[in-house]
Symmetry: C2
Subunit: 242 residues, 2 copies
Amino acid sequence: MAAGLDELVQRSVTEEREAGTAGAVSGPSPRQEQVLDAVLELLAEGTDVLTMSAVARRASCSKETLYKWFGDRDGLLNATVCWQASKVRAGGYDGDRLNTSSLRASLEAFAANWLRVISSRTSIALNRVAISHAASGKSNLGEIVLCNGRFAIGERLKPLLEAARDARLLTFDDTETAFRTFFGLIGRDVQIRLLLGDRLRLSKADIARDAARATQQFLMLHRAAKAPAAPGRTKLNHRKET
Amino acid sequence: MAAGLDELVQRSVTEEREAGTAGAVSGPSPRQEQVLDAVLELLAEGTDVLTMSAVARRASCSKETLYKWFGDRDGLLNATVCWQASKVRAGGYDGDRLNTSSLRASLEAFAANWLRVISSRTSIALNRVAISHAASGKSNLGEIVLCNGRFAIGERLKPLLEAARDARLLTFDDTETAFRTFFGLIGRDVQIRLLLGDRLRLSKADIARDAARATQQFLMLHRAAKAPAAPGRTKLNHRKET
DNA sequence: AGTGTACCGTAACGTACGGTACGGCTAGGC
DNA sequence: GCCTAGCCGTACCGTACGTTACGGTACACT
């Protein structure tokens, strides 16, 4: 994963500029956003109905316009992924002073947000089409999704983790490894099950409970030793899940 | 996920019987296995080259035979998934007496095995095609993969976990939840990254290290309190990863 | 030898979809 | 009023692939 994040985020816009006449340097025009929303809408209804004709119909535009604006089908998908990513971006650590409870709250909020994202119809559909394309190797869509998903949130959380380490609230050697542990504790089998079509409903309550559990477990693994928590002192959330 | 596991495993064989003349009640014939291996071979080379013509060419059989044996493309894929699943099955807990170190060894072996599976070209390709099909909703391929992957290994590990709980080596309320935690600690972001095309190489050493780390973390979270391990007493494997 | 069966190789068919071309409509500038 | 630009709607083209059909071959059985 050598390519930089920003470069990837901007790639589709670049292609759009190369291919078409949308002169605006910054992002898609409102009309183009309507088109991209139509793509997201169709995508949520099933990857197989996402044909260029269907997009044109849904967005009430001509296929000629689609090709003029986005170059080809891949360009349209790239632009869609970036458009969705730009809508999902949420704030990371903003430099607040940390204490035990604010750290826990931040981690829980982060976990809940990520669970919401990966269980959304849009994210599932987008990941599915990106995975299909990754198989063909002809497109960098998977890379874009990865950079705007997994890697973006990693970069967003790391400042918090490191601030917590500086504040002696957490202990770990490698930030990336610590993040991956948290990532695993949050997602577990959820994403692969959803991608494979498992009927798995995450209610708001489920998400809140999972976020709390993941955070609790992460803290147990990485809590700084200055306040050693003997296992069993803070209760583990092993409640049976529905 | 209401359908039983065994039912799903057998489904493609049933279809095969309905559609064709392969009279053998049990599984594919050797010649058919050759065909299925050819499918796996092609799949590993890229999902997009998996056309019926390519399969026929690779397996040195006629398309007519393919359709007679497997019904249609979906039937061929179903049979392939089941064939691969039948090859991957490994033994679970066999009732050995457990102690601390044998439990750790079993968990590590389990984790390493799972990491090997999800990072294999075959598994990646199979999951990709199943995910593509899950998007179209027209096939139960995702269900089959899920039952032979995620759920099968869960059922295989649970006896060990419960035996360990009975032996007072582990403590948890719900076996399924405990397993999901372990699952998350093992896989973390590996599977989604590989599915999305991230170049991620897991050497044997990486796998062994990850399996040990996941096991260590899982034990820290679920070790029975009779031998309380203060955080930091046993060193955490936060070595920087390559 | 004759017949039937299973199979290979390949040609052919139908369709779906990405991509293109073209006619018509609207709006803004002169 | 007229011209140009941009866009809509749609018909059209080429291709790829799933599926079917057919001719030819090897072999078992009688």
